[in-house]
């Protein structure tokens, strides 16, 4: 494994790629008369870019903006509030990926509910949640189905598994979202100025390159990109090349994992368990056809139907620019609360709390970017 994988994070290759990217970016930026604005749609890309310190190497030429691709960041206040309400129900154990635990709702979070006595369990895999429910028949396990196309097939399989095992105490609060409709919504917003897209590698592994063909109509260059540093540099390089050549397309820069048609088995499992519906995205509002709901044969596993929840009245914190940041209109430092009233120990918006949230990534890795020059 390591024999070839390490090449994707090899610093020698990275150095050559950076050199090439800088060369290309300089020429493109010169032509534009400004920095090139690229959006990494995926939150995992946001973190990877920060971790590798790529902004310090490219930031003078490239304006790398985070998009709506952090699933916990785009979870609506109303949905977080409902998750909190589920956690407060007696007899209910909420199962979740670690990422959701600190996401703030209107006035609480799962972390706080746990401190207040709720039973919140973190699972690495939805299969583990099913196994837990089977072992604890006296508890109702509600799994929080959060994530994009990458995650939804695994949750779909876990629901089928619970059905096959006849579990009566397992249900899912389905909050899965789909990436292409969100991209569409972004492109339709006239205020958004993005020169190209770094497309999510693992979402694409499921949906395939073909799913992005609608992008070509907008004549914007885009590259499906893996998550190793050299993958990201390669993706940026391909976008810049297309820009320089004025040949915008959707290229697959992650051919070792992403196929043209995607993963058919995963698509089939998703289609069997879920139906496409509208979904509300934080910062965007309702995007038609951008979410999943349970298909009729699996309706019994719908936590939203199984439990009666008090009505939620979401309160969006004043001044939080998360919505604009998720659309790439602003960068975190342009939020006036950033690092003032809002920081990871007392986050105002979700973008500050998820480790792949744009604000958290900027706070954690790049807050003092200006001050660094003397040591860099």
């Amino acid at each position: 494994m390591r024999e070839f994988l390490t090449k994707f994070r090899d610093p020698e290759i990275a150095r050559a790629l950076i050199k090439d990217v800088r060369h290309l970016a300089t020429r493109v930026a010169d032509r534009l008369g400004r920095r090139v604005v690229l959006m990494e749609v995926c939150g995992t890309h946001t973190v990877a870019i920060s971790r590798a310190g790529l902004r310090s190497l490219l930031g003078d030429l490239l304006d790398l903006r985070s998009g709506p691709g952090c699933p916990v960041c785009v979870t609506d206040y109303a949905d977080v509030d409902r998750m909190v309400a589920l956690a407060r129900l007696p007899g209910v154990t909420v199962g979740t990926f670690g990422d959701m635990v600190r996401v703030p709702g209107s006035d609480s979070s799962l972390e706080r509910e746990r401190a207040a006595g709720a039973d919140i369990r973190i699972f690495y895999s939805p299969a583990d949640a099913v196994a837990w429910a089977a072992a604890h028949p006296e508890r109702e396990l509600v799994f929080l189905g959060v994530g994009f196309e990458t995650t939804a097939p695994a949750v779909a399989l876990s629901i089928k598994e619970a059905g096959a095992r006849g579990l009566k105490n397992f249900s899912v609060y389905v909050n899965h979202k789909l990436v292409p409709p969100a991209l569409m919504a972004l492109l339709e917003d006239p205020e958004i100025k993005v020169d190209g897209f770094i497309l999510p590698g693992h979402v694409s592994a499921i949906i395939g390159r073909r799913a992005y063909s609608f992008l070509e109509a907008f004549r914007l260059p885009a590259a499906i990109t893996g998550f190793e540093t050299n993958d990201i540099l390669e993706g940026i390089r391909q976008i810049l090349k297309m820009m320089w050549g004025k040949e915008p397309r959707v290229v697959n820069g992650y051919t070792r994992v992403v196929r043209e048609e995607g993963n058919k088995i995963a698509q089939r499992e998703m289609a069997a368990v879920f139906r496409v519906g509208d979904a509300s995205w934080r910062g965007f509002g309702v995007i038609p056809g951008s979410g999943l709901t349970l298909a009729a044969p699996f309706a019994a596993f719908d936590a939203a139907a199984r439990f009666t929840l008090p009505p939620v009245v979401p309160r969006v914190p004043a001044g939080c620019a998360c919505g604009e940041i998720l659309k790439g209109k602003l960068t975190p430092k342009e939020c006036r609360l950033f690092a003032v009233a809002c920081n990871p120990t007392s986050p105002v918006g979700p973008c500050m709390v998820s480790s792949e949230g744009a604000c958290a990534a900027y706070y954690q890795f790049e807050r003092h970017y200006g001050e660094r020059a003397n040591h860099a």
Binding site: S50, G53, L57, G98, D99, T151, T229, Q364, E366, R372
Partner: protein
């Protein structure tokens, strides 16, 4: 009725069963004369330096893990806190907080492990305490140790001594303890493939101080990991610190597990690792001393001190620079 094989509430009531536990278990493993006298407070022999004191409570779950257990940990943790301020650790107090129902055999395993760690570190347990609380009011066993040591005259460590150019060393690969515990707690399949680094550091630190008297500061890299410790130093010293990512040793299995869980080894806890700041000229010498000790064979020079205002930077393997802050929130396995 069968003999007592678990701890009962009555073991903590200060009466006959408490007495039985103390004399039948604790005094058997901790044979020091001071403890045996069973007074309300221990009288210590101390001379030849300033007295150093440190306290820590240990709440690790599970109690036993690859590389150690709560008993070893409770000795090493406090010994290391004393060692990193330049003190020679001498005496420990041990306070046991026990949940009713703990098997006495497990308690004995822990106590035996503490005794072995004390012997390794050359410290003596001189005072103790035992409390038992009702089922559900405590998770099996917590231990507090408080350590007393002597800082020899001449040893002067402190934030104020840091200066640009000082070299920063670590005695070995990071993140092992934190990853071991997380993996066990979350029940990951790879739990058995990582082991805690739990070890008493007073030996290796003693050799470092003897060979490199110029050592300016040391920190053990416990909760919050290397990044948090570096940040605390930078803030307290009012300087910047630059760490070099590819110089920081991380074992492949820790790196792999961290990737799997979306975690950063820089923020994972260690229990047998410390960082030391030495003058620029002493860097290589210090590295040599550390590497000759069994607990420092993979020691490395990992960064340096710069003038600044309390920031920590990491030079990535790709030549980029990123900002390191304190840990914010317990590391949780991530999927996104």
């Amino acid at each position: 009725m069968r003999k007592n094989d678990v701890v009962l509430l009555a073991h903590g009531d200060g009466g006959a069963l408490t007495h039985e536990l103390i004399t039948g278990l604790f005094l058997r493993y901790f044979p020091g004369r001071t403890l045996q006298s069973l007074t309300d407070a221990a009288a210590l022999e101390l001379s030849g330096g300033r007295v150093a004191v440190s306290t820590d409570s240990f709440v690790v779950s599970p109690l036993f893990f690859p590389g150690g257990d709560i008993g070893k940990l409770s000795v090493c943790g406090t010994v290391n806190d004393l060692a990193v301020v330049g003190a020679k650790p001498l005496y420990l107090t041990a306070s046991f907080l026990i949940e009713e129902g703990l098997p006495l055999a497990e308690l004995e395993r822990v106590v035996a492990s503490m005794a072995a760690a004390c012997a390794e570190a050359g410290v003596e347990i001189v005072a103790g305490d035992t409390k038992v609380v009702g089922r559900g009011n405590l998770d099996r066993l917590f231990i507090n140790t408080t350590g007393v040591g002597l800082i020899p005259d001449g040893v002067e460590l402190g934030y104020a001594r840091l200066a640009p150019g000082d070299q920063i060393l670590v005695n070995g690969p990071i993140g092992e303890h934190g990853m071991t515990i997380l993996a066990l707690r979350e029940g990951f399949g790879f739990a058995g493939q990582v082991a805690s680094d739990c070890a008493p550091l007073n030996g290796i630190i003693g050799e470092l101080l003897a060979a490199v008297p110029g050592v300016k500061l040391m920190r053990d890299l416990t909760r919050g990991g290397l990044a948090t410790a570096a940040k605390e130093i930078a803030l307290a010293a009012g300087c910047d610190i630059i760490l070099k990512e590819d110089a920081i040793p991380v074992r492949p299995e820790v790196k792999g597990a961290a990737e799997l869980l979306g975690l950063d080894p820089l923020y994972l806890a260690n229990e047998g690792k410390f960082m030391a700041v030495v003058p620029a000229a002493d860097g290589e010498k210090a590295l040599g001393v550390l590497r000759r000790h069994p607990l420092g064979q993979e020691a490395a020079l990992i960064g340096e001190v710069c003038s600044g205002r309390g920031n920590v930077y990491l030079k990535t393997a790709f030549g980029g620079t990123k900002f390191l802050d304190m840990l914010a929130g317990t590391p949780l396995p991530r999927i996104c």
